[in-house]
């Protein structure tokens, strides 16, 4: 059973179609990257999944049942892009309060907050106020309050912004652990290298529509352009073959694109014939960043407002 199924979700504003017929599914324990340029409709989509907005049309199925915001938001942890906490409230009280709002009893909340604070070495912060914390510390606190109640679905919007590498890794590890324990994670960011590293599945959204959906490897293979790198002892003097074209030469490393109708074996065959010593040979898959740019390029970064008919 899928943790979350989104079917033909639509949300139209008067000035634009924020979400226009988006469907996807999310399995338990998977880490799901929700990508898209600014203003693509990610936030609106997330707000519908978290029950903040009602969809105009379409269906959300949570754990096999029609999404019921009143009941199901207790099982969803949401860390929005714009992080926010009560500035004047003590950190311990704040974490407990937010956990209680997610349906934990006071005793439960206290216990879990303590556990997490120990895990993140935040025990000494308990009586401090949020306004006394640095941005990175606030981020950590925000993450703790989001995952405190072991939600079935965790939505993280830019969770690493403003964090140093040590704290980023700390949170990354926790994300993996939560996924292993069965939480599904929706991870929204513009940082493609993080997506490649963390996510097993991605959806790319542009102008309110889904333009790409699949596992990270599948997507990369879908967009591969038969580009290979070959390392040689010495560069052959002139290369003239119908099998491939050299795109780039870096020392003894050549980057080449195999022409239609030929196979990697034909490349090796060619160099062996040339008596060249081959050190390495591997395929270069496009990075998600390349795919992203390729798909989104040409569409204006900020959407023009369109009038819904």
């Amino acid at each position: 059973m899928n943790r979350l199924e989104v079917k033909h979700l639509k949300k139209y504003y008067t000035s634009q179609k924020a979400v226009d017929d988006i469907s996807f599914t999310l399995a338990p324990g998977s880490i799901f990257g929700l990508l898209g340029p600014n203003g693509a409709g990610k936030t609106t989509l997330i707000r519908m999944i978290t029950g903040i907005l009602f969809p105009d049309d379409g269906e959300i199925i949570f754990d096999g049942q029609t999404f019921n915001p009143n009941k199901d938001i207790a099982h969803i942890g949401y860390m929005p892009e714009e992080k926010g906490l009560y500035k004047k409230m003590k950190i311990g009280d704040q974490a407990i309060y937010l956990a209680q709002l997610k349906g934990l009893s006071k005793a439960d909340a206290l216990e879990r907050v303590k556990q997490w604070f120990v895990k993140f070495e935040m025990q000494t912060w308990w009586n401090k106020k949020v306004e006394d914390l640095s941005k990175g510390m606030q981020q950590k606190l925000q993450f703790v309050t989001t995952v405190l109640n072991d939600p079935k679905l965790i939505i993280l919007d830019e969770p690493f912004s403003g964090l140093d590498p040590v704290n980023s890794n700390l949170i990354k590890d926790e994300i993996y652990k939560l996924a292993q324990k069965g939480s599904s994670i929706i991870f929204s960011t513009h940082r493609m290298e993080q997506v490649e590293e963390i996510c097993d599945h991605i959806v790319l959204v542009n102008k309110g529509q889904k333009i790409l959906d699949g596992s990270v490897t599948a997507v990369k293979h879908q967009f591969k352009e038969n580009i290979f790198a070959i390392g040689l002892d010495s560069n052959p003097p002139n290369i003239n073959t119908p099998v491939f074209e050299v795109i780039n030469t870096k020392g003894h490393q050549l980057v080449l694109k195999i022409n239609e109708g030929y196979k990697p074996n034909d490349v090796l065959h060619y160099f062996l014939q040339q008596q060249a010593g081959i050190n390495s040979f591997h395929e270069i898959l496009p990075s998600l960043s390349d795919i992203f740019i390729k798909l989104v390029e040409g569409t204006p970064l900020t959407r023009q407002f369109q009038v819904t008919a």
Binding site: T50, K83, M89, L101, Q142
Partner: protein, 432 residues
């Protein structure tokens, strides 16, 4: 439902635990008590100061002897061998506070030529004491010229004070007491709506500016968040008022044990020393007794709750649409403040003309009724008007809470955009 309680609890505790809450809660009654004490001190010193008055009585009005009231502590010194003109200049140097000059005219015909010299304006109480002494003397002279004795005069003189009977229950309406109580109640509601309404607005703005609103509404319904805040802050207000009332009563009780003058009679005595104190005391007591406490309390609580809920929800809606720009907040708040202030203005008219069309309208129109009706309630409001007013208020509270909740749920998640009134109305009436 449990969540709304959590929100209420937080909103309440966060504010009650603040230092500023403690400061205002204890500070305000202290200021009131100090103010009260100063007023009494002034009243008392004005009433019991022994002033020395030089008198030149060229009309021989007093015939050298002064028949002064027992409560008049002033010392009158009659001078004969001094010219009025020289005394006008040097009475102060000779140790007199005032100089009373009665010129050599027929005082029975022309009593307005009497002059009182002082360095600064004479206190009202002092002036009226001197006037009373002169009036007594003139009366006596006139009686003598008509060959009447004091006793005969007293038998003739009529001294009526009308008993004002109002309403069906034939209760004695003592207008002054009633109007003061009504005014204070209306004023309280006015202050509560303004202070705690804007407090709600600032709380909503804080949530919006610190961007916690989005986190919150992913665990609580926006309506719960809004109502939790409104109720929590309302409870803070009630707590503060309760503490104030207890402190003021308690402090007065303690002070009156030390300073005998510090009881209810002290103030009227100081303010109107000529009036008979015991009369005023009984009037006050009768006045207070004649107020239907149960009825007033009920109306006060009803209009307090209604007015607060109505305006707090409007303030919450305003707070949700403004960005962190203070000027913008002020602009948006203005139309909400207007009817509150208008209500207060109408309420001040209620004492003079409780049945004028403006006051009747103000006490029924739900945006002004919480202030105006409470200010008018002492003047026997027809029960039909009261019912219509209450009904309209309940309906308006429901309507405005609904309207504000709709604006709030959209506004609180909008950033960086100035929201127009038109848009707000659009949000309110579109389906979620």
């Amino acid at each position: 439902m449990n969540k709304i309680l959590l929100v209420i609890q937080r909103e309440y505790l966060v504010r009650v635990q603040k230092k500023s809450f403690l400061l205002t809660t204890i500070g305000v009654p202290l200021i009131i008590i100090v103010f009260y004490a100063i007023m009494i001190a002034i009243g008392a010193s004005g009433g019991h100061e022994k002033s020395k008055i030089a008198v030149i009585d060229e009309a021989n009005l007093f015939a050298g002897g002064m028949e002064k009231a027992k409560s008049d502590p002033s010392e009158y010194v009659f001078l004969n061998n001094v010219s009025p003109d020289s005394l006008k200049v040097k009475y102060k140097k000779l140790g007199y506070d005032y100089f009373l000059y009665i010129p050599p005219v027929d005082i029975l015909q022309n009593a307005n030529s009497i002059e009182l010299y002082s360095t600064s304006t004479v206190a009202v109480a002092q002036k009226s004491r001197i006037e009373k002494a002169i009036n007594n003397a003139i009366e006596l002279k006139r009686l003598q010229s008509a060959n009447l004795s004091r006793e005969q005069y007293r038998a003739i003189k009529s001294d009526v004070s009308i008993q004002n009977i109002t309403g069906k229950q034939q209760k004695k309406g003592i207008a002054v007491v009633a109007s003061v109580v009504a005014f204070v109640c209306g004023m309280l509601i006015y202050i509560i709506m303004l202070i705690y309404g804007t407090m709600v607005m600032r709380g909503v703005m804080e949530e919006k500016i610190s961007r916690i609103a989005e986190v919150m509404v992913s665990s609580v319904r926006p309506f719960q968040l809004m109502m939790g805040k409104i109720i929590g802050i309302g409870a803070v207000g009630l707590t503060q008022f309760s503490i104030w009332i207890i402190l003021i009563i308690g402090l007065r009780f303690i002070l009156s044990a030390f300073i005998p003058a510090f009881d209810l009679s002290a103030l009227p005595q100081g303010a109107a020393a000529t009036a008979d104190t015991s009369d005023l005391q009984t009037a006050l007591r009768v006045g207070l007794d004649s107020i239907p406490i149960g009825m007033i309390s009920f109306c006060f609580i009803f209009y307090f709750l209604g007015g607060y809920l109505l305006y707090a929800s409007l303030f919450a809606a305003i707070g949700s649409v403004v960005s962190d720009d203070q000027n913008e907040a002020q602009q948006m708040v203005f139309p909400v403040m207007m009817p509150i202030v208008l209500g207060f203005v109408i309420m001040t008219k209620a004492a003079a003309e409780p049945d004028s069309p403006l006051v009747i309208f103000g006490s029924i129109f739900p945006l002004t009724s919480p202030v105006v009706m409470v200010g008018r309630i002492m003047y026997d409001v027809p029960i039909s008007q009261l019912i219509i007013s209450m009904l309209l208020l309940v309906l308006s509270v429901l309507f405005f809470v609904w309207l504000s909740a709709k604006i709030y749920r959209t506004g609180i998640l909008m950033y960086g955009k100035k929201v127009s009134w038109k848009e707000m109305i659009k949000w309110a009436f579109r389906r979620s």
